[in-house]
Symmetry: C2
Subunit: 694 residues, 2 copies
C-alpha cells in the first residue's frame, strides 16, 4: 500500500496546449505555528497547466480548459450540450445591444400586436352564445376596448418617464406600495407570462391548422414542439437582437395592413352594409343564452386579451438608444396606434363580412376568424392567404419568445430579493437565466397540453392577471406622484388616477365574468404564490441571520468519535480503517450481520488483523443493515453527546457502470440514511477496482 | 460553538419500551498504546435502549425496534411497505413446511397440469393453416405428445432419486457437464419462467374473456393486474403452503375430469363419430399452407407446451415428507398420469365435437378451445360452464405463481455461484428473495404487454428453452450414470439415453419449426445470457482476488492534503474549516467565483478570520464551479502524488425538503463529480439549520 490510499489508477490530465509557466502556489503547507500574514501565506512553485492563469499570489483564473467534462459519459453529455446550447460565454461577454425605435417596436411589441390574431375571435365566441344576431355587438365592444387601450397607453407613458431604468409592475409596486402589492404583481405577471406562451403558441398553431386542416389533430404536439424550439433558442442566449425579430413583426404588420385596406375597399364597394352572418350547413343556430349585460361584459373581458403585452416597453426602457425614455415613449405611442388600428380593422371587417367564429368541433373544421377574413379577401389557397397565416404564426411565436425574456428577468428580480430560489439568479453557459427559461418552458407546456391546445379555453385565465398587474402598477404611480410631487405632478396624477380606476374596474369585471371559466384558478393561485414567496423569503432571512453569527474557529476543541462499518476484513476495509485511524485515535469498527458463521469468521479475522481498533459486532436478525447502524449511532450520541461523530465508509468504485450494479449499494444506502441524521460527518473513502494487469 | 460541531438539533430517540438494562460497550476509546487482547478491548458501560440486546462483550443483537424508519417521510414509507408487504420476519422464522403427496401434487403440478388449458388449442391453430380437414391430425399428434410425456416422466424419476436435495437442470448440468452447459440450462430456465408467467396469465385471462367477452379489450390491463397481485403476494412471502394452493388445483382437476367424462359419454352416444369442423358464418375457409411434414412438426412442437412445468417436482424434492425421493417419485408418476389423461381427453373431445380454434380477431369474438368444449357439453352460460372457466383461470394464475418460486430460487443459485448480482441472494423483510421476484414481475409484464396478451404469439418462445433444459438435465444424468456406476446404473442409463435423445431431437425440432415465429429470440438470448453470466463471474472473481490481498494497515504512513471549498466566511464555513483543521494540519481553503467584488470581500473576510489555513481564490469567468475545482485537484495531485487528498464539503441541511431546494445543491454537484475521481476522499460536514428559537 503506497501511503495509505492506493491510487495507481489515478488519472492525470496532460495539458493540451502549452500554458505560460506560471508562478503561483496551489497548496500552502503550514506547520502548526504558521499564520497568515498579508498575502505571504503563499509558497511559490511552478504551475504547468492550461486550466489556470495566475492573477496574483493565491488568485488563479480558470480558463475554458478547466470546464472540460471528465469521464466518457461526462464528455458525451458535454458534447450534446454544446451542440444544442452552444459554447459557454464568459461573464465579460455580456453586452446590451441598444435598439433603434423601429427595431424596438418590432422586438417589444410582438406580444401586444400579435393579440389581434385572437382578440376579435374571443369577443365573437361569447356573443355567439346569444345567437347570430348578437354578433353585431362586437362593434361597440371593440370600440370600448380601443378606448381602454388608449387609457392604458397614456398611463404607461407616465411610467416610462418615471422609471427610465425599467418599470415593470413588480418594481413600481415594490417602490411605492410595499411588499404585498409587489408580490401580487409579481405573481400575476409570472402566471401571465406562462399564459402568454401557451396562448400565443396555441393561436399560432391555430393559424397554421386553419391553412392546413390535416394538422389540426396534431396541434398539441406541434405546440409543444414550438415551445421546445423557443426554449432551446433562449437557452442558447437569443436576446433582443433586433434585426432577426424585426422581420416577422413587419411581415405581419404589412400583411395585416394590406388585408385591412383591401377589406375596407371591398366593404366600401358594398356601401359598408354588413352581411348577415350565416351558419355553416348542418350547424344548428341555437342561442343558448339571453343577451344581457353579463354576456356583453363577458365578451368585453375576453376582448381585453388584446391589451396583454402592452407593458413590455415600460419594462425594457434600458434597451432603447438614448434618450431612452423619450424614445421608449414614442415607440409606445406608435405601438398603441398600430394595435388600436389593426384590432379595430379586424373587428370591423369580421362584422362587415358576417364572419361567424367556429367552435373547435365545427363540422367544416376549425378555422380562425383572421383566416376566414383572409380567405374572404384573398381567396382561400392563394399565396396572399398563406402569407397571412404564416406571418401570423411567426409573430405569435415571437410573442411567446418575449415571455422568455420577461419571465426569467422577473424571476431574477424576485430571486435577487430572495422571494424565489437562488437558482433563478444564476446565468448558464450562454449567460441566459437558464432556470427561469426552463421553468417557463415546462409550465407553459403543461398548460398547453392541459387545455388541449385550444386558445379559447385559456383566454379566461389570461386577462385577470394582466389587469391585476396593470392596476397595481398604476396604483404605484398614483402613490409616487403624491409622494414625490415632482414638477407637473398634477397632470400625471390625473392620468394615472384614470388609469388605476379603469384598469381596476376592468380587473374586477374580468375576474367576475370569467370566474367559473377559469379565472378562479388565477384568483386562487396569486395568494398561494404570494405565500410561497414569503415562505421562501422567511427561510433565506433566517438562514442568513443564523449563518452570519461570528463564531470562533477552534479546531482543537473537537473531540472525534469515528465509526467504520466493516463488511469483511479485506483490502477495502483495511484502507478505510487506516484512513479513519489516521484522522483520529478514537475509531470503532462495526460489523452488522445475520449469520452466526460470519460472526465467528469476523472475530477470527479481526484477531488476525492485530489492529488497535476495537470491533463491535451487531447481530441483525431481521437482515436490516441501516436500522441497527442508526440505532447504534444514536446510542453513541447518548453516551458521548459532545463528540463529533464521523462515519467513515468504504466506497467500492468499479471500472464500468454495469459493474457498479454488481456491488450492493450499501455505502450509498448508509449515506442516504445519514444525510438526515443531525450532526453526523460522513467520509467516503473510495476504492477503485483496478484493471487486470497480469 | 460547542466543541466544533453544533448539534443542538440532535434528535434523541427515547426508548419506547423498557428494555432490560444491558451491560455492554458501544465505543471503546483507546489511547495510542491500546491493543486488542482477546475480547478484552471492550469497555463496560450501561446501555439503555430497546434497540439492542447484548449477546457477549462487543456483540449486540438488534431488535425489531432498531428497524424503525427515521423521519416523517421514512416512517410514512415504512407504513405503506408494512401494509403491502407485511411486518418483517426474523431469519430464524424461516421454516419449511413438508408437503404430503396430495398437497405436493397440487403445489408442484399446477404449472404442468394447467398447460392442458392451451396445448390442444395451439396444435389446432397450426393445423387450421392447412384447412379444416387437417384438424383431424390432432389425434396422432396428441398421441405423440403423450408418448413424449411418458418418456420425460420416466427420465425424471431417475433424476429425483439421484438428486434428493433438488435436481434442477442447472444443478444437474453443473454437477456433471460443467460450467457452460449449466449456464445454458440456467439461461434457458430463467427465460422459461418468464414465459411461464406471461403465457399462464395470458391463458388465464383468455379463459376469463371467453366467458365475459366484454373484458377482451382489457386483457393486457387484466393480465398486468394479475402479475402485480402475484408479485405482491410473493413479496409478502407466500411460499408453498400447500392448503391454499391445493384448492384451485383440485377444483380444476375435478371440473376437467367431470367435463371429459360427460363429453366421452356424449361422444359414445354418437358412436364416437367425429363431427365435421364447421367455420363460423362469415369466415372464409382458406387453407393458406399445404399439409406437409413441416406443418405437422410445427403443430407437434406447439403442443409440446403441454410438457412445460414437468420438472418442477424434481426441483422441489426437499419439500416432501420423508422419504422424500420416494414420495416425490410417486407424485411425479401421478402427475404424468393425470396430465396425459386430461390432455388426451381434451384433444380427443375437440376432435369429436369438431371444434375450430378461433383467431384473436374472430368475427364471433375470441373463445378458447376449452371454453368451446365446456359450452358444448354444459351449454354456454350455465353454472358448470362458468365453473370450468373460473377454475381454469385459478389454476393458470397458480401456474404463474410456481414460476415465482422457481425463478428466485434459480437466480439465488446463480447469484450464490456469482453468475448473477449479489442482490439476488438477499432475502427481504419477509424472507422472500425480493430481487428475483421483482425482476420476474417486471420482465413477464413486459413480455405480456409486448405480445399484447395473446397466448398464441408467445407459445413459439416457450418450448425451446424448456426442452433445452430437459436435454441438458438428461445429458447430465447420462454422464452421471457413466461416472458413478451406482448399482443398477445400466437401467437408469438406458432410460436417460432415451430421454436425452428424445428431448434433444424435440428441442431441435421445436427450435427449427418455430425459428421465424420467435424461437430465434431464445436462441439468440441464451448465448447472450451466458456471456452476461460469465462477465459477472469474471468481475466478482477479479474483485475478490484483488480485495483478498493481505496489505498491512499503516495509518501513520498516510500524508493528508485537505481541501475545503468555501463559498463565504460564514458559520457553515467556519464549522467545516474547524473540522478539516482538526483532522490535518495541511488544509487549504478554496473560493471559486466570477465576481471581482466577491474576491475583495473574501480577501478581507479571510484576513479577519485570522486562521492559519491558507486561502486560494480561483476566478471562474465561465461561472462554472465544478470544472475549475476538479482542475485544481488535478494540479495538486500532480504536485503531491503520494498524498491522500480529502475534500471536506459543508453540507447545508434545511429543516424541510422544500427548504432544501432553496439552497443550490453545490455540495451535491461537487460530490457527484468527485465520485468518479480516483483516490479522492470526500467528507460531508452537515450543517443543520435550526428552528427559530427567539
Amino acid at each position: 500500500m503506497d501511503s495509505g490510499l492506493e491510487r495507481r489508477s489515478q488519472r492525470v490530465r496532460a495539458p493540451r496546449r502549452q500554458a505560460p509557466h506560471l508562478q503561483g502556489d496551489l497548496v500552502g503547507k503550514l506547520d502548526m505555528q504558521g499564520r497568515l500574514i498579508g498575502d505571504r501565506y503563499v509558497r511559490v512553485c511552478r504551475v504547468q497547466t492550461a486550466d489556470f492563469e495566475r492573477a496574483a499570489p493565491g488568485h488563479l483564473i480558470a480558463t475554458e480548459e478547466a470546464l472540460e467534462a471528465r469521464g466518457p459519459a461526462g464528455r458525451a453529455f458535454g458534447k450534446v450540450k454544446r451542440t444544442v446550447i452552444g459554447a459557454p460565454l464568459s461573464t465579460a461577454a455580456a453586452a446590451h445591444e441598444r435598439l433603434t425605435k423601429p427595431k424596438a417596436l418590432a422586438v417589444l411589441s410582438s406580444d401586444a400586436l400579435s393579440s389581434v390574431a385572437y382578440a376579435t375571435e374571443e369577443i365573437l365566441h361569447v356573443l355567439l352564445l346569444a345567437g347570430l344576431g348578437a354578433l353585431a355587438l362586437s362593434l361597440p365592444i371593440g370600440a370600448g376596448i380601443v378606448a381602454l387601450l388608449l387609457i392604458v397607453g397614456i398611463s404607461y407613458r407616465q411610467t416610462i418617464k418615471a422609471y427610465p431604468a425599467g418599470g415593470g409592475s413588480y418594481i413600481v409596486a415594490k417602490d411605492n406600495l410595499g411588499e404585498l402589492p409587489a408580490l401580487a404583481a409579481g405573481a400575476a405577471l409570472l402566471f401571465g407570462y406562462i399564459v402568454t406562451v401557451a396562448v400565443s403558441i396555441a393561436a399560432g398553431v391555430a393559424a397554421l391548422t386553419s391553412a392546413v386542416p390535416e394538422l389540426r389533430d396534431h396541434r398539441v404536439t406541434l405546440g409543444l414542439g414550438f415551445i421546445v424550439l423557443v426554449t432551446v433558442l433562449n437557452l442558447r442566449g437569443i436576446r433582443e437582437s433586433g434585426s432577426i425579430f424585426a422581420v416577422p413583426t413587419y411581415l405581419f404588420l404589412v400583411g395585416i395592413v394590406i388585408m385591412i385596406a383591401l377589406g375596407l375597399v371591398r366593404a366600401a364597394s358594398n356601401g359598408f352594409v354588413a352581411q348577415a352572418p350565416q351558419m355553416a350547413a348542418g350547424e344548428a343556430q341555437t342561442a343558448t343564452q339571453a343577451l344581457g349585460v353579463l354576456l356583453i361584459l363577458t365578451a368585453f373581458s375576453r376582448g381585453c386579451a388584446a391589451l396583454t403585452g402592452v407593458e413590455a416597453i415600460s419594462d425594457g426602457v434600458q434597451a432603447f438608444q438614448p434618450p431612452e425614455w423619450k424614445n421608449a415613449r414614442a415607440t409606445l405611442t406608435w405601438m398603441i396606434a398600430i394595435l388600436a388600428t389593426t384590432f379595430a380593422g379586424i373587428t370591423f371587417l369580421a362584422n362587415q363580412f358576417g364572419i361567424v367564429p367556429r367552435e373547435p368541433d365545427h363540422p367544416e373544421g376549425y378555422e380562425t376568424v383572421v383566416s376566414q377574413i383572409a380567405s374572404t379577401i384573398f381567396g382561400g389557397g392563394t399565396p396572399a392567404y398563406y402569407y397571412i397565416q404564416v406571418a401570423t404564426l411567426a409573430i405569435l411565436i415571437l410573442a411567446a419568445n418575449t415571455a422568455y425574456s420577461d419571465f426569467p428577468r422577473l424571476s431574477y428580480f424576485l430571486a435577487r430579493d430572495r422571494y424565489l430560489p437562488k437558482q433563478f439568479t444564476f446565468r448558464g453557459d450562454r449567460l441566459a437565466y437558464s432556470t427561469g427559461i426552463v421553468t417557463l418552458g415546462i409550465l407553459s407546456s403543461l398548460m398547453l397540453a392541459g387545455f388541449n391546445g385550444e386558445t379559447t379555453r385559456m383566454i379566461p385565465l389570461y386577462a385577470v392577471g394582466v389587469f391585476t398587474a396593470f392596476t397595481l402598477s398604476q396604483g404605484g404611480m398614483v402613490v409616487r406622484w403624491l409622494r414625490l410631487k415632482e414638477p407637473g405632478w398634477q397632470g400625471g396624477l390625473a392620468i394615472n388616477i384614470v388609469g388605476v380606476v379603469t384598469t381596476g374596474v376592468v380587473a374586477v369585471v374580468v375576474g367576475l365574468t370569467n370566474f367559473t371559466r377559469g379565472a378562479w384558478i388565477v384568483l386562487l393561485l396569486i395568494p398561494v404564490l404570494i405565500m410561497m414567496f414569503r415562505a421562501i423569503h422567511g427561510h433565506y432571512a433566517q438562514a442568513a441571520g443564523e449563518l452570519a453569527a461570528q463564531t470562533p474557529l477552534e479546531p482543537d476543541e473537537i473531540e472525534h468519535t469515528v465509526i467504520v462499518p466493516v463488511a469483511a476484513v479485506n483490502r477495502v476495509a483495511r484502507q478505510t480503517l487506516a484512513y479513519a485511524r489516521s484522522i483520529s485515535s478514537n475509531v470503532t469498527a462495526v460489523h452488522i450481520t445475520d449469520d452466526d458463521a460470519e460472526i465467528e469468521q469476523m472475530r477470527h479475522d479481526w484477531k488476525e488483523l492485530g489492529s488497535d481498533i476495537p470491533m463491535v459486532i451487531i447481530e441483525s436478525p431481521y437482515r436490516s443493515l441501516v436500522g441497527p447502524l442508526l440505532s447504534y449511532l444514536d446510542e453513541i450520541d447518548r453516551q458521548r453527546p459532545d463528540d463529533t461523530l464521523t462515519v467513515v465508509l468504504p466506497e467500492f468504485i468499479a471500472r464500468h457502470w454495469w459493474e457498479q450494479v454488481l456491488h450492493n449499494q450499501t455505502a450509498l444506502r448508509i449515506k442516504a440514511a445519514l444525510l438526515f441524521r443531525p450532526g453526523t460527518v460522513v467520509t467516503s473513502v473510495p476504492y477503485h477496482l483496478e484493471r487486470r494487469r497480469t
